[in-house]
């Protein structure tokens, strides 16, 4: 009985933190929401000033930017991460598998500043050869992919490690090939673990701040192709928060709040959709 109380309290506590964060954002954003209202989505540009009447506060291109970077990076990182986990668990010889895993674990701790820096001085010039300048949506997607890859790979691999031996032994005994075993036995059994890993990766991607500031170009325009510069909502807050006063500051918090709302919608709909499946 005590155990149940304890663990449920912990769970409620964990949840209450996110409510506090949303309450904080809402409080700081309130002046912007009440005075600007739909202008946040409808204004044609983002040139904020300290008062509502003198500036424009359209954040729509940045919502698209955030979604594009997140969707793109998850689309690449999920299959690559799962394949890496498959490689490490089932294809690589023991020594290589352990080394590979440690190598990827290293990536999980490298600061976002270092990734951003590497993207700025190495990756962006590379992309610039195809389409100058190199700081654009593609660069952002690739950098964020590299950042969330360890999360997805490590969680998925841990799930693979707990697939019951009986399933595998039985499939092998039936004469199934290695990939067939993986595709038809391992992957379906690990669905929930893969979902957890991808969800953790996706939420990391959407919240990434420092790296995207350095590689995405930060121009407030809806991207027409992956070679266009974008600005995400998080980069927007990071870039302008230090100098923003008055309504500008409130509008920045409002953009953070809107990001949270979009995420909440996405999380709930993903869970509902997976439940239906």
């Amino acid at each position: 009985m005590l155990a149940t109380t304890l663990v449920r309290s912990a769970a409620v506590f964990a949840c209450s933190i996110v409510l506090l964060v949303i309450a904080f954002l809402a409080r700081e954003a309130w002046p912007a929401i009440s005075e600007l209202g739909p202008r946040l989505l409808l204004d044609e540009s983002w040139h904020p000033k300290a008062t509502a009447s003198t500036g424009t506060f359209g954040i729509w291109p940045m919502i698209v930017g955030s979604l594009a970077v997140t969707a793109g990076s998850v689309a690449i990182a999920a299959p690559v991460g799962v394949s890496s986990a498959v490689f490490s668990e089932y294809y690589a010889p023991r020594v290589i598998a352990v080394a590979y895993r440690r190598w990827v674990e290293l990536l999980a701790g490298i600061p976002s500043v270092v990734f951003g820096f590497w993207g700025l001085v190495v990756l962006a010039p590379l992309i610039a050869r195809i389409s100058p300048p190199g700081q654009n949506l593609l660069c952002g997607m690739l950098i964020v992919t590299i950042m969330i890859l360890p999360t997805i790979m490590l969680v998925v691999q841990s799930t693979f490690a707990s697939v019951p031996r009986i399933y595998l032994a039985g499939a092998v005994a039936l004469g199934m090939g290695r990939w067939a075993v993986i595709r038809q036995v391992v992957l379906p059994t690990s669905r929930r673990g893969i979902a957890t890993g991808v969800m953790l990766g996706a939420t990391r991607a959407v919240g990434e701040t420092m790296a995207v500031v350095m590689v995405c170009g930060n121009v407030v325009k809806t991207p027409q192709s992956i070679f266009d510069p974008v600005r995400t909502l998080t980069a927007n807050m990071a870039l302008e928060m230090s100098y923003a006063m008055g309504m500008h500051r409130n509008a920045l918090f409002a953009s953070g709040l809107i990001l949270m709302l979009v995420c909440a919608l996405a999380i709930v709909s993903v869970n509902v959709a997976s439940r239906r499946a």
Binding site: T5, R8, S9, V12, F13, C15, S16, S45, W46, H47, P48, F117, L120, V121, A124, P125, A128, P132, P133, G134, Q135, V213, M214, G217, N218, V219, V220, P229, R231, A238, L239, E240, M241, S242, Y243, A244, M245, H248, R249
Partner: protein, 291 residues
Amino acid sequence: MNFSYALMLMVSVFSLCGCSPSSSLENTGLSTTQRVDSPATSGLSGKIEVTGSSTIAPLMTEIAKRFESFHPGVRVNVQMGGSSRGITDARQGLADVGMVSRDLKSDEADLKHFEIARDGVCMIVHADNPIGELNRDQVMGIYTRAITNWEDVGGTDAKIVVVNKAEGRSTLEIFLDYFKLKAEQVQADIVIGDNEQGVKTVSTSPAAIGYVSVGTAQYDKDLGTPIKLLSIDGVDASVATVADRTFPISRTLNLVTKDEPTGLVKQFIDFATSADVHDLVRELAFVPLEN
């Protein structure tokens, strides 16, 4: 049952408000006859909180260290958060001194400000770019996309990559002011935040043009970074020309306090604006103010 747990936990979290707030103005043992620049141990002790601009923070950290070495009983904590935080924290008393890397606006006249350095703003291009100077019209044309190719201003055939700064930043406002541009007119390819980001963007992009702090650009160029400082309207851009006021585009770096500073804070501000720290100012590529 779950709701009551939630309530219980929220209450316990908020009841932690009993923690002692950090008192920032403990001034004890202050002797008014003590000279600030005496290296002998002094009786000064206390804590000073300084928050604000990330441009000034490194400079203030070094000044604070030197001040602490003269007065071992004093601790000066320098934090970043942006110029706007410097202003609001000074006003609300959350900090003793605010750092603001721009000239104060008219609605900030209630604060007392003290200038500690000057910083110029210059245009930079990649070192391989043959262009060495531009005039005002050309810069305006480039930034409004009336001119899109380096050929049109005498360079090689390459599409110009325009680098602009993010909204609200003082470097942006000075730039717009000097070149008589409005923020809406500028069409950039890349928008950057800090000066170093600007330098690294331009140094890795041969067709780029941007504007950053003169001191930062010159320091990096001397270290070998492949950038070039452009002359504007015939005036070379360098720390020297900012110092003798011939270079037209510049801003002051300020410290602000809510009221006229007294006691420990006054000693510190006097020290920070004195000639004793001019070498520290130069170290970080700013221009000291010769009073």
